[in-house]
Point group: C3
Chain length 132, copies 3
């Protein structure tokens, strides 16, 4: 089963928690053991799992990524001015494979599922496949 989640972002760079949407899709599938695979349909936003309890964690991560890979650099040649967004996407990665056990996603206590927006604000699409 393939479906697509829609995710609206509100800033140029931010991490948006999509855990509820993913979990709802898993629960709706009725599958109790298996995997859910997520795929960003874009080249300037990524998917990752990290702490969702304290929003300062995501804020610090986004800030530091901006320090490491600044928006503007004289040596970038790509005309759209978002080469940083492309690189950040490959650094975090475009896909996630999560495990389903006893009807729920296997996640640690502090783990949340995020879309990492590196060139927003935009409306993003995430493909989702649940398999046994």
């Amino acid at each position: 089963m393939i479906r697509f989640l829609e995710v609206k972002t509100t800033q140029r760079t931010e991490m948006v928690n999509i855990g509820r949407q993913v979990r709802d899709a898993v629960l709706a599938s009725g599958l109790t053991e298996g995997a859910v695979h997520l795929w960003s349909m874009h080249t300037t936003c990524a998917l990752t799992v990290n702490e969702s309890a304290d929003p300062d964690v995501a804020r610090d991560m986004v800030w530091k990524m901006g320090e490491l890979v600044p928006h503007h650099e004289g040596s970038y040649r790509h005309g759209e001015g978002n080469s940083d967004s492309h690189l950040k996407t490959s650094l975090f990665g475009p896909g996630l494979s999560l495990l389903i056990h006893r009807g729920d996603i296997i996640l640690g206590t502090w783990q949340g599922i995020f879309l990492a927006e590196w060139d927003g604000p935009r409306t993003r699409s995430v493909a989702l496949r649940i398999s046994s």
Copy 2:
């Protein structure tokens, strides 16, 4: 089904589009719904998905990775002089799981599949498994 793709690279660091090879393998399998998993058999080249329309995107990404993780650093101890290549490989990641839907790989408009060469030129091997 496991098969191995051969990829020849021509520079020390570059991103090589392997989308045609991967798509050909998917089409040849005849599978219409499922997943294709790719795995780099090496510790100094990675796999990623990013923009394939404008070659300057890959060029900028490779350039910036060289700024972040330079080839030579006084503090590296590994005798082969390619510690940067190893780190870049873990940053981009050695594997990809792509979804197959209606007989083709699910990719966004701008997404292409790349082998990221971090210590070439070499002939590289990528394991590929298609599963339903």
Copy 3:
């Protein structure tokens, strides 16, 4: 089948080879063709594959990650003082999907499976699922 591997780390940042534990689980499953999926249950340690022959490779990688993303920065807001660990975890990634062929994991000559500890020492848990 889901099981959990326990991994004890001894330093704040290090790469711990978990290949034997993963391979033992694969061999015990008796599965000859399929995949093994690994998932870190934590937000401050990651999973990766890289060279296991020369320990200086992992040492250099951990050192350089500390240069890129230092432990302390004035601009971090997260109160626990481990924002660097969270970012390093998303950069390496929390999960791995490895292929099983002819009863063993498909790995290149130099590839070893590592837990990348970014905020130890701790006892870590890695979820493992083997599927055909």
